[in-house]
Amino acid sequence: MDNKLIDKKIESALKQGTDHILELKSGLWLKIEERLEEEKEKETIVVKPKKKLLSRLVIQVSVATVLGVAFFGFTKPGQAAFKRIEQLLLPEKTIVQQLEGNEEETKLTLNEGQGQKAGQSDDLEVSYAIYVDEEMYKVENVGGKDRIVPKLAAENLPQVYMEIEQVADKSPQMLVEEIVQEMKAEGYQLKEVAQVDDPVKGTLVTGSTGNKWNDVVVRYYLVDNQHGGSFVIKQHFFLEAEEGHGARFYYMLKEFRVITKGE
């Protein structure tokens, strides 16, 4: 049988065999619109009152430090800006996150990263603050980098973590190529390099080892530290965990802030 004729027959069979599903098209659009409206409402972060503000000494110290920094560093723009920062650095926040299609209210706890001198200045120190879901994750220090890892790690599965490292002397632009080369050397297929505003403003580099459920996905977010350096935030998980750990990392990262002390 002629190949062109076969091609034609396959094309025609595929169209004819799937024609009937097109009747769902209009109704499906209505559902999508409905979902988008719901998502829009759910994206609103709810900040609860300071019920347990003084419940933990560590948090007290950390918050006192950060609030002091915030107050010291951000008084110039005025009272409104200060209120915003004060709210930002509450010791705990409750957010509503979308996980695998379900809404989940989650308490996040403030964690502050190790500061580093900013550029050539001895007076300025740059660090970061992030809110962590401490019910599910713990923060470890691995090779000088802060790593957020699941408290319950499954066996025989690729590692899951979100790692934050500050590189004091390289901008995100300088780091992109290094990371791309590193990913290639490690066997990742590069998927995307893009400028993003969400969950943080910065450069996103993504890659994976394939399309199977347990293939590894890595996402690097390169965030400018505003003093010639960068924060390199690496998310590492496997494809099937994208909507679980991947989504949880996304929501935690939305709460990432660069802090400059001494301005």
Binding site: M1, L14, N211, E243
Partner: protein, 185 residues
């Protein structure tokens, strides 16, 4: 036109998103159906895909081709749904499992040739079925399909060749009313 739509969606233009839906929904539904084989699952996959596209559109690089990005999300979404229903079968085992079910369905081929061919295609191993669908239904080039599926171009060519040969054999055997072992050889 497509890039323009995406620029507008990035700015939050819901009308542009509706236009994109109209542009992509038909083929998305068709492809999802050939992967999941069930209307409800296909509709769920397409719905989730469009929601993901809308939510993640800011991560899409306008310098790149949107179509492969979109279909990659759709295929992943189909697989996620199948996995939730425990219907994802390891590719190596898929063929053996299908062998046993084919014989029970053979007697029903009292339809038009096209319908029989579609059924035959649906019973192919998914590693062959998905590339065939992307090529013949949506019209992707082989290079684009390899990119979407993350596989080597030669591997893809070999899968497409195998798929077409199997369907060709099915058609010849069917014509001769001897279509007993068309799919597993």
């Amino acid at each position: 036109m497509e890039q323009e739509l995406i620029k507008r969606i990035k700015l939050g233009d819901r009308k542009a998103f509706a236009d994109l839906y109209n542009l992509y929904a038909d083929y998305a539904l068709r492809l999802a159906l050939t992967i999941t084989k069930e209307m409800a699952d296909a509709a769920d996959a397409v719905q989730e895909t469009f929601i993901r596209v809308y939510k993640n559109i800011n991560t899409f690089d306008l310098q790149k081709n949107f179509k492969p990005w979109f279909y990659r999300i759709l295929i992943n979404e189909c697989n996620r749904i199948l996995k939730k229903k425990n219907k994802v079968v390891l590719l190596d085992n898929y063929f053996e499992q299908k062998e046993s079910s084919v014989s029970s369905q053979k007697d029903n081929y009292d339809f038009e040739e096209s319908e029989r061919l579609y059924n035959a295609l649906c019973q192919l191993n998914e590693e062959i079925r998905i590339p065939l669908t992307l090529k013949y239904l949506i019209g992707f080039s082989e290079k684009e399909i390899a990119e979407i599926l993350g596989i080597n171009l030669n591997t893809l060519k070999s899968r497409l060749y195998k798929g077409r040969e199997r369907l060709k054999k099915f058609l010849s055997q069917n014509k001769e009313k001897e279509g007993k072992e068309w799919i597993t050889s």
